[in-house]
């Protein structure tokens, strides 16, 4: 028969063991929760960096299309095909998409028992990024149309400046390909054959209020000024 001391010691040991076991489980669960949030944060950071790069690339592609459209618009009669091509190219770009699934990135995140606020903060950041990306791409069809038109108008201004359309040609004339073309011989130089002598001289002569600071005056003889 067990003595009282044995019974008491056994009772005490059982109680302590129970406490230690549950304490261990608690510690493990807290650790898992925190690890899950850290893992999610790391994966989110990577995804956010990736989407940032994708959006930047998307913007750069748009800028290249703008430039190409403007250059093509300088070719007499090329403005509408350039606009169509530009618009098509803009629409053909792959739209960046923020597809971050926290459950895949950090398995067990949703089932974690601890680190509630840290998890909420992470989810809020993910939602925020999703909103930013959504806003950045919002109305992309309309944006592409506006961008195409802007490039068209930019092409018109460039053509006007380059003198490939005569004075008095309106933007609508330009669109209808009814520009009054000049018979100026284009300057063959680094401007890729698109500037003619007169318009370049007009451009230089205008000075645009820059006075002596204008770069176009550097090395220019007195009679020009």
């Amino acid at each position: 028969m067990a003595t009282l001391s044995q019974i008491l010691a056994g009772f005490r040991a059982d109680q302590q063991l129970g406490q230690k076991e549950t304490l261990g489980m608690l510690g493990e669960s807290i650790f898992e929760s925190e690890t899950s949030v850290k893992e999610g944060s790391r994966a989110y950071q990577e995804a956010a960096d990736d989407i940032g790069l994708d959006i930047q690339k998307y913007g750069e592609q748009g800028a290249k299309i703008d430039t190409a459209q403007k250059v093509l618009s300088l070719i007499p009669g090329g403005q509408i095909p350039a606009a169509i091509l530009g618009f098509g190219a803009r629409r053909a770009r792959k739209k960046p998409k923020f597809t971050f699934d926290i459950n895949k990135a950090a398995p067990g995140f949703e089932d974690r028992l601890f680190a509630d606020q840290a998890g909420k903060d992470l989810l809020s950041s993910i939602e925020g990024t999703r909103d930013i990306v959504s806003q950045a791409l919002k109305g992309s069809f309309f944006n592409d149309l506006v961008s195409t038109a802007t490039s068209l108008y930019g092409g018109y201004q460039a053509a006007e400046l380059a003198g490939t359309v005569s004075e008095g040609t309106t933007f609508m004339d330009f669109l209808r390909n009814q520009a009054k073309e000049t018979d100026n011989t284009p300057v063959v130089d680094a401007t890729r054959n698109i500037f003619d002598n007169d318009s370049f001289n007009v451009f230089r002569g205008n000075n645009y209020g820059l006075g002596d600071r204008s770069l176009y005056n550097i090395g220019v003889e007195e009679e020009w000024l």
Partner: protein, 222 residues
């Protein structure tokens, strides 16, 4: 003075608690065994405690009974010894004749010695009784200490859980009508919106990620 035993119910009542505090210690902090945090509490070993108390009571009964029994035995022996002594004195006076005064003095001395001896025995017995009760009392105190310590540990455990910022358990976010409306408001085309609403309605109450994916598809094509 004998040990004053209290039942677990009495001990708990003194603290304004019920037996639930021992059976489901997390419950009073909102972390009951029905939830996912109940696993971080271990129940009090009520049986073990009661076994300890029973064992203590048995030991007390045995030890105290032994002391009383021994006292009774020794007191009886002393009584017998005294009676025998007194008889001897009386017999010694009969044939030759101790004078009455001498016999009385001898008997008085014998009674005084017997009385002193009994007093010593009673004092020793009382001391043994006290020492035994002290020893048993400390064991009972140890048992009560484990009970009190258990209640304290439960409070500490609840505090540890609270400090670790509990989420409330598994709570996978499910899509709500508000979520559908919120995502819908971000879409541009009216046609897209109508189509999105129709598709998203079926996702209400389902994992939020599904709604996100659906919205992603619409936003991609918008």
């Amino acid at each position: 003075m004998a040990i004053e035993y209290k039942t677990l119910e009495q001990l708990l009542e003194e603290r304004g608690l019920s037996m639930d505090a021992l059976k489901d210690p997390g419950q009073r902090f909102g972390y009951g065994s029905g939830g996912e945090y109940g696993q971080f509490f271990s129940p009090f070993d009520i049986e073990g405690y009661q076994e300890g108390i029973q064992s203590l009571k048995g030991l007390e009964s045995s030890l105290m009974g032994g002391i009383e029994q021994q006292f009774g035995f020794q007191a009886g022996r002393q009584r017998t010894g005294l009676q025998s002594e007194l008889q001897k004195i009386q017999q010694a006076g009969k044939p030759s004749g101790l004078t009455g005064g001498a016999q009385d003095r001898l008997m008085s001395m014998a009674r005084q010695a017997g009385s002193e001896s009994y007093g010593d025995l009673a004092r020793q017995t009382s001391q043994r009784r006290t020492a035994t009760q002290e020893q048993l009392g400390s064991q009972y105190g140890a048992l009560q200490g484990m009970f009190t310590s258990f209640l304290g540990d439960s409070t500490t455990r609840a505090l540890q859980i609270t400090q670790a910022d509990p989420t409330g358990g598994s709570q996978e976010k499910l899509s709500t009508a508000q979520d559908v409306e919120r995502f819908n408001s971000r879409l541009q085309g009216v046609g897209d919106r109508a189509s999105f609403i129709a598709a998203a309605q079926s996702l209400i109450g389902k994992p939020y990620q599904l709604l996100i994916d659906l919205y992603g598809d619409y936003a991609q094509n918008g």
